[in-house]
Point group: C3
Chain length 199, copies 3
């Protein structure tokens, strides 16, 4: 129940970031809807295909519906008026939650620790990667800003805590907190990773 | 039987559009074959992966064969001599048919209306999206010209008619006609969607 | 056993090429790891999704582990000191082996000859395609240099030999030799394919 709510909130936050990318590119309402849906459900879709699970949004209407409502909201409310900081912080919460949800679902399908962590990272980042490739922008992967690293930290802490025997809510809470904190330092303090040959 | 013929015609038409993209980029025969196959079967492949169906072209040779013949035909006949209008109209028929075929297959797998419509849109448009990303061209998604919207309309009309109890041939005919008509208006009259912040 | 070793060597070689692409783009350690993993396992992942097999690296840690070690090695040893020729030749071996392994796995799942050959080509080339799209570089598909053609030749020779009744090691050896030889001619002699309208 809490998982479903978190899941839905994550789809909504990522869908909004996709619609905002469409707004920045002065796109049409159809592109808004497509970018919102792809960014909202993209990461979880790849995870489910890879672990052999039924794709989570396919048999139901609510996940797609949330994405379409997010796209319509961004279209109707002028993006110029949205505080970018609010989006970054919502996105940070969504990313941290998704990294843990993705890794946990992978553990539930019997994956070992390393692939489960990778699934958490993919769930948290793949939607944004597809969005950037489709929009012809440089992928978030190519930016030095810490993002994927925060997802990896969150998923690792969660999987590690589960393997150490922590109860699920504690493990998930620690994972979300770790991923969110690292991402928050990147947003608030400009924490970056050094590029190759530049250190 | 009719479905198989429509399906094969759709693969052929989309494969030709992929090969023409390779011709525009002055590519080699191998790129022709790859672009033709990806564009021809790409949309249906994504649909089948998402709904958990066996991928339609994998267990047989005819769909790939049709794509390769299309690539060879475009290579052998100089593209400069092809009337572009003919391609656009063939492509419009293929798009409208694919949107309905994709949505109908999704309904057959028990999907609710909204995801079924999305599957129709993906089947009709994803091949072209991959083609454009691979070729480094702006995706059809980013153009204001009505394309994805026409696929969405066709799939929606078909799914709506099925839910209202219409017999399959009628529902499919209405869906194809609706999608084709909207796309035809875009080709013949330059019908476009307004971009964000430009209206 | 030999197959597993070849498979692991192929993942390692492709992972190194992914990490080297990250090094060329002056990327961070996280991008190194991501590019290495995507390039290392990408082709086999697409193949497994398409033929309905469990994705080969998901239930275990070793394939991802090899990719991460490859990324760390490229990060720690300065890429400027690596002889590019060595990479090209290793990559040629990996490509030839992967084309045969991919086609052979597809035959084992009951695919006819043409789709099996396509699976060999995808296994050998898709990792590099995703890597190039993510890095914003022109895809290997768009270069006139012979690469995909060599994979197609290797897969075709293998499948042809199997259909003619050759024992598996002979068929695989012929396929790898054919693919490697054609690629070697491209590397050593600059063998290229003519572009459309340029011949």
């Amino acid at each position: 129940m809490l998982t479903e709510l978190l899941d839905m909130a994550g789809v909504a936050v990522f869908a909004i970031s996709g619609a905002l990318a469409a707004a920045r590119a002065r796109q049409t309402i159809v592109t808004f809807a497509f970018f919102a849906a792809v960014t909202g459900v993209g990461g979880g879709t790849l995870r489910d295909l890879l672990i052999g699970a039924p794709v989570f949004w396919v048999g139901r209407s609510d996940y797609l519906g949330v994405s379409l409502v997010a796209a319509a909201a961004v279209w109707l409310i002028r993006a110029e008026r949205w505080p970018l900081a609010a989006l970054l912080w919502f996105d940070a919460i969504g990313m941290a939650a998704y990294a843990v949800i993705g890794a946990d679902k992978a553990l539930g399908y019997g994956l070992p620790a390393l692939p489960a962590i990778v699934m958490g990272v993919l769930t948290a980042s793949f939607g944004g990667i597809i969005r950037d490739v489709l929009a012809g922008e440089p992928s978030i992967l190519l930016r030095p800003e810490i993002y994927v690293s925060a997802a990896a930290l969150g998923a690792t802490v969660h999987v590690g805590a589960v393997f150490l025997g922590a109860p699920l809510p504690l493990a998930a809470g620690l994972g979300v907190a770790a991923g969110f904190t690292l991402r928050a330092l990147a947003i608030a303090r400009g924490l970056k990773l050094p590029g190759y040959g530049r250190d």
